[in-house]
Amino acid sequence: MPLEASARIVSELTSRGYNAEREAVTRLAAADHTDAALERVLEELPEDALVVRTEHVEAALSALESPASRSAADAATETADPSVSTGTPEPTAGESVDASPVETEGSSTGAGRSVDPELRSLEIVGDMTGESTGTGEYEDFVSVFRDRLDKLGAKLRGRVNHRPATAIEDMPGGSEVAMVGLVNDVRSTASGHWLIELEDATGTFPWLVMKDRDYVDLVDELLCDEALAMEGTLADDSGIAFVDSMYFPDVPRTYEPSTADRHVQAALISDVHVGSEEFMAEAWNGFADWLHTEEAQHVEYLLIAGDMVEGVGVYPDQDEELEIVDIYEQYEAFNEHLKKVPGDIEIVMIPGNHDAVRLAEPQPGFDEELREIMSAHDPRIVSNPSTVTLEGVSVLMYHGVSLDEVIAELPEEKASYDDPHRAMYQLLKKRHVAPQFGGHTRLAPEEEDYLVIDEVPDIFHTGHVHKLGFGKYHNVLAINSGCWQAQTDFQKSVNIDPDAGYAPIVDLDTLDVTVQKFS
């Protein structure tokens, strides 16, 4: 839970056009769940109010408390029998939407969910399941990196007057030059300057960033193997160039995200970890129950960004911490939990690093056997990463293993576990979900680089770090959903306090986020 407290609340409020009393902000900041409270306040604010006052906050906070206890109570009664929710008849099966399968017995439409299948649309781009053609040869690796340079280079080439690395060597000293390439190496020189080696399809060329230049701060953000353009002046011997400016593929500042034509919501979650002793079944049930309520009537899509189950053999002696030791039983249990979700919600999921697919990215979607097990909702199972477009709103789903590396490599103010969305901004800026090769992130070579963010998404959804955080980067909504697994011994030992039991809900018509808490 990002808790920059007051400042964030104020900026959030102003972004929505409200002013606020100092006391109101303080109360909000002190609330247990600032985000939820804030949303509630905004929800309940009289239409004509311009200033958020203390009484608004107080009213909202007290209201927030009762439903919370209500849903807990409901959870208790409803877990036994998922069909408790008011049973409206099942909707007629639409063409674009598969009917809610019989297996989801009883989990019928929530109160007042206006399900008109005709209105829904769901398209997938970039799913490489069944398209894995790489055979692990050296050439496969070469072509994947070439593809990366081609795709990302295309976004940069228009901005500079670039030359190939080998051509630059032959240019006279003092010339103005520019180059587009992948970062091959970043190191500091004895005198504190930075030497960045850029590589393109012809070779490498060293670029020097002087320590007193403006751009020097950007050096901290660089990861190996990301695509960059550099402009500068050749040294006298043409052996090196001095950087004047640096360009990232980036998301255009002016990017205008698409929105849905109607008020419809999507729940973005991840890291369920069924099978772990720490899986929070109650929170999950609370969430499923909530989906049946009127409040959730507009939630028509559920996106799960990986780690459905805790998996087997993910770390040494994992079996000792597993509630369900059998991997297939884990998925079966997950399927049972999925059944509690209303049958008319569209589900899309991608695998994560705990799932029973290859760890190397891109990860293809689950195999037939596992799909068979998770058939309850007939979810769309696609590769990690994939882009799913919901009624015009594109959501880039990526599990998020590379976030660890981004957070480790970049300075804390630019990326940290407390603000996972800020790490996501970096990936958007680099237009690649896992730029650095050879570190934590594993790469499976395919003929093209599926990890490139070729089209700018409207929403970028990740998980993995078990922290909740969201924010906008050049108008792209970045959301790292929390998890459904309480703090593990391992997390305790490395000082990670997970945000467990939250479901961020996105309004697809406005891209606003509300966070529901179930723990």
């Binding site: 692990g136 059998d326 697919v357």
Partner: protein, 1217 residues
Amino acid sequence: MREEDERYFKRLESQLEEAFDVAETAKERGADPEPEVEIPTARDMADRVENILGIDGVAERVRELEGEMSREEAALELAKDFAEGRVGDYETKAGKVEGAVRTAVALLTEGVVAAPIEGIDKVEILENDDGTEFVNVYYAGPIRSAGGTAQALSVLVADYTRALVGIDQYKARDEEIERYAEEIALYDKETGLQYTPKDKETKFIAEHMPIMLDGEATGDEEVSGFRDLERVDTNSARGGMCLVLAEGIALKAPKIQRYTRNLEEVDWPWLQDLIDGTYYDDAGDEEAADEGDGDDDGEEEDADADDEASEPDEPEGPPRVDESKKFLRDLIAGRPVFSHPCAEGGFRLRYGRARNHGFATAGVHPAAMHLVDDFLATGTQIKTERPGKAAGVVPVDSIEGPTVKLANGDVRRIDDPEEATEIRNGVEKILDLGEYLVNYGEFVENNHPLAPASYTYEWWVQDLEAAGTDVQALEDDPRIDLEFPDPEEALEWATEHDAPLHPEYTYLWHDLSVAAFCDLADAVAEGRIEGDGDGSVNGNGDDSILVLEYADDVADALETIVLEHRQRPGDDRIEIDDWRPFVRSVGCEPRRAVADGAALEPEVDDESDGEPAVELERTWSEDDLSERARTWGQEDGDNAVEAVNEVAPFEVRERAPTRIGNRMGRPEKSERRDLSPPVHTLFPIGEAGGAQRNVADAAKHAETMSDTPGVVELQVGRQRCPNCETETFKNRCPDCNERTEPDYRCPDCDRALEPDDAGRVECDRCEIEGTCVETREIDVNEEYRSALESVGERENAFEILKGVKGLSSTNKIPEPIEKGILRAKHDVSAFKDGTVRYDMTDLPVTSVRASELDVDVGQLQALGYEEDIHGEPLTHEDQLVELKVQDIVLSDGAAEHMMQTADFIDDLLEQYYGLEPFYELEDRQDLVGELVFGMAPHTSAATVGRVIGFTSAAVGYAHPYFHAAKRRNCDGDEDCVMLLMDGLLNFSISFLPDKRGGRMDAPLVMSSRIDPSEIDDEAHNMDIVSQYPREFYEATREQADPEEVDIQIGEDTLGTDGEYTGFEHTHDTTDIAMGPDLSAYKTLGSMMEKMDAQLELSRKLEAVDETDVAERVIEYHFLPDLIGNLRAFSRQETRCLDCGEKFRRMPLTGDCRECGGRVNLTVHQGSVNKYMQTAIQVAEEYDCRPYTKQRLEVLEKSLESIFENDKNKQSGIEDFM
């Protein structure tokens, strides 16, 4: 010291001096880096300490303090001297602390190991948050070699000196405390710690530590939680620090406490809490939780604690040790498990010290070595359940051998190694591995409570004596074999004298349940006595055998109690030869089948017609057994020994209450030490020599057509002739042959510099270090040719002469090529310091026979051996003589290699130095009496030894004190020998790499004589008696503390005249090399073959659960390998096949950026999935858990997904049908 000991040392020293003189003369003539021998001789520890540290005045002070106090106290005393400036010339406080800490470590490690110089990087003064100053000690990896106690004491000394010079305590920040905890866990995961403190414990220590423990990064993995701390330079684990905190402070807290108590200046009250484990000051529930999921260490501690606490309350039962599974951890493919923890059928603990036994060794019967498919050989390391962690295997044939069941149904005990190899193919099951000899000292050293002793001859004979029997008379009776009596003799003694039944006829009743025992008694009562007609007496005094009706449970019971018999299910018979003691033990009495039923000893006369003349009558019924006997055991009624005692007419002891689990560790070693690739001369040739580093190739190499062949650009040290100012890289001026001097320059201002007194070269203007290293063109061809000419050799004298790519020493002084030419000629190669070495696994021996050493009595006499161990004059090859402390036995391979080295040295003296040859060896017998250096890795001091003979075992046998002087124990450790003259002539400090650990494993100093007080004190715990007292055996039943028993150990004779002699043993062995010469691990080819053999053996061994073995092999070997390789694959480096250049990522050009050559992966599909199918197969065949199988399944899918094209899958035949 006795006169003869003094004579022995004088003799060694004069021999040494003689060699020294020759070497000095040679060195003056040659072009070595120094014109003199570079290994100083140290008379004693004080000398070594001073030599290693290079701090003047230390030796003198150490000698002053030595007589007055313990070494630890002396270290603290010296700390005071440093603090007050009496010793060492340090101006800064940090310097004083550093000097004191280094000296303490050097002192505590007897000036042998490199830890004081390599393991402590620096000491600095930093500032606390409150502005006060504190001391930060930087440890490095090599501190490991100092051992826990010295590590811990180094912290105390640092703290003490800190207090004396007036610096404040370290006040750790919270994040630093947390960091320590995370880091130790990380280090344990990555490298492994002997003892891993729990997080709480680490934090507790970190919080109270009065000085900061720091160090350099040793691993690649980084902590993920507490990163980028201001006062911690690295995010990786700091290995040295982790060792000091975990294995030093945490593990040795009681030892430190002993010294803190006596010091006013320092106060470590928290140590008590640490020792008591009372640092859980916050919540009780957390403690409970901790216990619940505690690791094995914890469990064991808890179990121990429970044991002690609840012993009095517990219902009476047989004394047993607790199982410990630790030794099974990290089981790898190809190294078999011999016995699961405390498993029936495993090795039976017998107490005693054989003459080739010492510290960290285990005596195994040579027949057992063969029967475990040759996996055990002399010197093979085993990881063991107790008392220590690992031990070197030694062959002892005076203990009981293994018992096997053959395919023909015979159950036989095999006491003869030859028989073992004969019957090996017919072995169906190894029912019992035989005895496992461990000496008392092992328990002392490991501070392990005595484990209940097997009932063995040594004990029985003392019982017999205690029962009032004249044992001496029996021993003197030539018709009686007291150790291996006939059954009737044994019965007679058991019934006539008030002593328990002889162990030879005491079976393993304790492994049999009471119920099975009753059934067995039934079966025996039904049995009949037959004459088997083969005329053999079988020790029954007649030609009779016991025949039982065949039944599976009877056969099982007999196998369980390990009684020799023959199973003939086809004939419905089970035959037992030595039946009388057995029959009596199950409470049956043989009666003559006569009407009155009077109990009579059967007298089967040969004329009888074979009719069953004897019937067996069961004298008891189940109801006769007392409640106690019926419920006796760990579990109710699983131990029939009390029942036996109630029904048998004599006392029966527990034959083997302690079984010891173990598995194979490292194989034994006896190999020449070659660098990889091997090096003949430490002369740089850059890339010009190709991948082979061939000097001849380099001499012809030319980069382009226009280059002169053989001219190579190299980094070497610049030397200048003081006479004619000629600049060269050689140690002698090529013009005037004067010795040259290094020409140091400031790299910035190019000013010529002179080294200061401490040997440092610094430019005072630029304040940077000066250097003499420069890149210059060297005509390798010219050097090579002139070297050949100067030693008068032609190129065909050797196959190849290999040089080095570049020099890694500080001043980059190359070795004269001449030496390399002669090494190549004799096929020996140089280690990084210029010496020729041979590695061998260390094993101890205290008495030897000329016959087993391949020498004759005359040779031994010539070396000063005059008497055997009984004081008789030495006249015969089979007499045992007590080994002198510095005499060593070479393996055959070592002898061969030493011969080659000697030839090389002789040529070197003649052809290079122009002197007379020194060795002139004709055959290996001439090596006897020559001096060598023994030198262990991680140490910096060599010990002089003398060759006394040879063994076919692939190990280096020497006196335990010799090994201890090198600071080795014998649990599979290995170290090297060098020929004395080779070390003197060819070693130079100038060759040593200029990096961390560079000075380790190099003879910076040599000890000419061993002082038993100055060796690793582990060896002092070795017992040196010929018999353990009866009280000892009884104490083992109480699981007493070993210190409570009085058995003489080495420590007891220290400082007396007897300190070099009187190492008696309780068990003899026929030969110190028995069993297989090499472990099957080394003779089997591929890893797969080894693993197949390992699993095959696990099926054969009664004491091994093959599923568990398979499970562990997969879990600890295959899975990590698969996972690791898969991970490596997906983030791998690439390498140019042509020039070897490495790239972090595949170049976008596809080709090598350096040479345009072909680039390829470093991790291929083949190396990733090489074990996949095998692992799956093993999991299937050995019925592993579904969890394991599923992990493999998931991995297999991952591999497919990565390495197979979805669109071009291998299709099966059904696709075409």
